[in-house]
Amino acid sequence: MSELDVAALGLRAVNERLQSVGPESNERVFLLRNPMGQHALACGLDAEIEVTIDGHAGYYCGGMNSRAAITVRGHCGVGVAENMMSGCVRVTGNASQSAGASGQGGLLVIAGDASARCGISMKGIDIVVGGSVGHMSAFMAQAGRLVVCGDAGDNLGDSIYEARLYVRGKVASLGADCVEKPMRPEHLAELDALLRTAGVGADAADFRRYGSARQLYHFHIDHAGEY
């Protein structure tokens, strides 16, 4: 394992090191010490490496990640794993707003709570939140799955497209065109598999499923009041 001291090396040097790991490199496991809430830590990675950040991270931690497995031992600022393509980002604490925003693939696991707009514009990413999510989560969510083991704030899934949402607790309110849907066996199976992959010990049978009513896919004047 290679240890990198963020405070001593600086953001550019740390990211450059992580971004330059080639397929033939024997260095596959990294520990980042003293992150001190730095922004843009471990962003733009594109290799099958393991990166552990030992402390809190600022904005856009793991942004646009491809293939890397990143663990944050602490809390994360805005936009953790934003636009992730593949790989995995795990946060042991809480995450601020827009966690997993526009993510296209991979898995984001937040052990604690996520703030507002979790999964906004998600495009294929899977997000599993151990706690609760704030308002406007999964806003304009296009594809992928958002799993909330706690409660969801107001306007969950507003203007949702094809993403699938699973919530165990209470939903304060659903957004425009987001409706509750029946949990069929295939949904239980996919949720169970997702929970297992995320390492969350919850029973899929306790969740409810939400998704798009697909009533706003074509703008119609009679639906203007729905927005």
Partner: protein, 438 residues
Amino acid sequence: MSVDQRALRPSASFPPEVIREIQRAADEGIYDIRGFGAKRRLPHFDDLVFLGASMSRYPLEGYRERCDTDVTLGSRFAKEPLRLKIPITIAGMSFGALGANAKEALGRAATAMGTSTTTGDGGMTEEERRASQLLVYQVLPSRYGLSPRDLRRADALEIVVGQGAKPGGGGMLLGQKITDRVAAMRTLPAGIDQRSACRHPDWTGPDDLAIKIVELREITGWKKPIYVKIGAARPYYDTALAVKAGADVVVLDGMQGGTGATQDVFIEHVGIPTLAALRLAVEALQELGMHRKVQLVISGGIRNGADVAKALAMGADAVSIGTAALVALNCNKPVHEDDYERLGTKPGFCQHCHTGRCPVGIATQDAELEARLEPEAAARRVRNYLTTLVLEAQTLARANGKSHLLNLEPEDLAALTVEAAAMAGVPLAGTGWIPGRA
């Protein structure tokens, strides 16, 4: 009984087009959505003139003495700034709104001229990347098709905050243009109306933007210039804030800028004219001591070499063209007139980009229509047009004694109207008066 034509007194408040629009709204119950930019008369570069040479200003010999045109964009922080041979770039227009042939033709033309073209909402197509030697990759609120791979193979990044045709508005690509390919690039079902968000999903305001810029620089190794594109809403403050947030280049789009599909009420009633916006942005840069350090690219109604030269004289480092480039491709050309008629319009008036039924094969995803635009021939037309713009701008610069287009200055200009004088900050012709200044 014949009607006495002299008795037909039109109403200034309710001319025929207003009556028609009220009745259309009454029939349909929805606002008018269209393409193109503002159609109303606005103070513009036409309202400025160059003074030319005189006893105290020596002209350069046309065809004999050099008048250089090169410009470097993104030299503030980026390790690899863009070095353009001409100060005219092709503006961001999406694959989806435009067909692949149009995007390829624009890329080829820009490459031939040594300048850049720009992606749009929906991501980067392979045709566009192959055809474009210098390609600016837009990072838009929708994040459709955004990928780190494309960030790295772009030559510059452009964070889009706003657009001149609709500052504060998002986008709408109507279902008829959403083919399987467009849908796949955007991760959405084919055939449905696709809304492009008006705000970025993971940042709000200049403090967040500064961090977002750092992230993009980290992902691209601090090599790529980062542009921030703003619509002409509050350009003085927005320019200053973009500089503060760390932009290498500010792209400012005035209200004459075009769109593929937006509400008419938005196009005509939101934002300020390019002329006024440009002056405010230049003032902001000058007051910060960043003029020419953070480059300013202006767009919105650039049509000819005079517009180019006037924009540069007012302080822009380059201009960007969108609608005019499409017109050069053949937009609104009097060919296939039956198809214009089917859309209820005529060549010269068409604004039906949003329908996907573009008669000349530009703003369409229909294979039959798109075949009407042959990329090589279309690129040649745009190249010819760009060449003409450069020659015209050089002609004007030489007449003002300038050996480089960027040496043009406000002192070379006079305004023909009080409005233009006030907006552009140059004296009303025949006076030393700039309205609003002591």
